[in-house]
Symmetry: C2
Subunit: 341 residues, 2 copies
């Protein structure tokens, strides 16, 4: 049962310590502006009352929250986990708190989350990818909340970005696939609508096809949501066609792992019968059987960089230059030479 006991406030502390509220506030926020004896007295009162500052009141009075918001497309799998972890650690070390929201890959939910985080006084926002209603950028402008885009790099984006070139990265993976003699390629892509990363990865594959003098339109592409189960069904679909591919390129590791699992269930040997690749290099890729060939994304570096850039934007009210990070191929067992027929 919860009593009707009222929650201690700054004023209660001040009264108990025999000082003014201003002094208590200073003890808590800039301790060195207060003499030792007073500080001790105040902190004792704080302890005794079990006082905890009211964040809402503080935000309102100080007009800043030291809080950064991040809206990621999903928390269901680990795609964003590592990058976000690094982001949060860097923020923390600089005195900021991170609030994370998930949009479930839905633009209208993302919109709502952006408004929610701004309402809650986020000093700045981390967004994934550039694709969204321009009105949202106007809103942020209007509310004076700087935003930074991550998980992609675009020197000409509406907002500065910290990320990598999805297109180029995927192209280099496909180059390697060609080198292994693969001719028949199928693609399991993420949904490209409202998702520039997925779109760019797909473009990267086409770039490689064109560069190799092949027809990019002949490519067999299945689009599906980023879930293990979706990757599995898509793989089954792709492999049920009369003309089986020798390699299935997946839009990310989650799809790739789903494909691997279904291959096992269907009795299809990887990479003997068909090769499978992913993208992201999350932990899952390494432990999959066989281990998944993928594109390594520098998640931690991206997270740390993004945090620094965003803090810079928040504190100095400026935009920062976009940062491009390098990706790297991770060749593992799931990709082998094309089977000779």
């Amino acid at each position: 049962m919860h009593g009707a006991r009222s929650v201690p406030t700054l004023e209660d502390v001040a009264k108990l310590a025999g000082v003014s509220t201003a002094t208590v506030s200073r003890c808590l926020n800039s301790p060195d502006r207060v003499v030792e004896a007073t500080r001790t007295k105040v902190l004792e009162a704080v302890e005794q009352l079990g006082y905890a500052p009211n964040f809402a009141a503080r935000v309102m009075a100080a007009k800043r929250s030291n809080t950064i918001g991040a809206i990621i497309p999903t928390m269901e799998n680990a795609i964003f986990a590592r990058g976000l972890q690094a982001f949060q650690e860097e923020l923390y070390s600089k005195g900021y708190t991170l609030i994370v929201a998930s949009s479930a890959y839905q633009p209208h939910i993302e919109k709502e989350q952006i408004r929610t985080l701004v309402s809650r006084g986020a000093d700045g926002l981390l967004l994934i990818g550039h694709d969204r209603d321009p009105a949202l950028y106007d809103f942020l402008e209007n509310q004076n909340v700087p935003a930074l885009v991550a998980w992609t790099f675009d020197a000409n984006g509406v907002r500065p970005s910290v990320g990598f070139n999805n297109r180029k990265a995927m192209m280099s993976l496909v180059d390697e696939i060609f080198r292994l003699g693969h001719q028949k390629i199928a693609v399991i892509s993420g949904l490209t609508e409202d998702n520039d990363r997925a779109r760019q990865r797909l473009e990267g594959i086409k770039d490689a096809l064109i560069a190799a003098g092949r027809d990019p339109d002949a490519l067999h592409v299945v689009q599906t949501s980023y879930e293990i189960e979706s990757g599995a069904s898509a793989f089954e679909e792709v492999m049920s066609r009369p003309d089986r591919p020798s390699v299935v390129i997946c839009g990310n590791d989650v799809l790739g792992v789903g494909a691997l699992a279904r291959a096992r269930d269907m009795g299809i040997d990887v990479p003997g019968d068909v090769s499978i690749t992913g993208f992201d290099d999350i932990e899952l890729a390494k432990v999959a059987t066989p281990a998944l060939t993928t594109v390594h994304v520098p998640h931690q570096e991206m997270g740390r960089n993004a945090a620094r850039a965003l803090i810079e934007m928040v504190e100095n009210q400026i935009t920062v230059p976009s940062v491009e990070l390098a990706t790297a191929l991770k060749l593992r067992a799931s990709l082998g030479p094309a089977p000779s027929e």
Copy 2:
């Protein structure tokens, strides 16, 4: 560059719409207490100014935030993802917002997070497991913030809980393992300090040993953090001992998958040479090779139940009875009969 344009407030909207701030507030919070014509006028003004309410101000004036906080031990893997997703969906449908924080399995971080969420005006808190400094419960009491415990069930806990009996669940898994003829058991447990779930699972194994008339102290236990990599090393350690077990019981699926991966790398056949089991039944368990035998935890049901119970506590300032949910064995390929020697 961010202009010095000032952010629109309720008052700006009121002025533009030619009404009082009270009316604008009502339009936003209880629209039916305002006549249609006025509402339209006000909403137009809101739209025109790109107004977004200031959450801090609202919380301070209204003395409640419609926000629930959850502090989970980790976001790094998917252990809590599904349950939390269901929790958040149920909250959302009831008009609440969820804020999630992660404690990285560290009591002192959890303490800080609890204080942070309370400061931020969380109306209620979801905590994982009962194990924590009793002073924290006093603090919550003092701050008048109800808390609910999940992922475990204890009818006599300091706080009401919604969860399952970790001990009983593990015991039934071990019973099944005995049925398959296994004699030599090794355990890869999570760190039991400050983690009642891990401890109870370990107890469950001992219960089963005792019930089977065996010596519970002869059990070979390795404790390690809940990471895939830790599971892998622990497995290697366990299998390097002179007296190899015929089954390795892992404290959760993450450890189990790590063990599977290392078994593959070491050329150890599962379940031919050794069986491996997990706990939780996260997606990973199903896609692992071989698929991981585990204990299914009703994550979604738990999340939904917890949300309902917590809202009940928040809105009516009462405690609720604890709820015990059933678990179920998921027998998959990673567990086989004990190899005959």
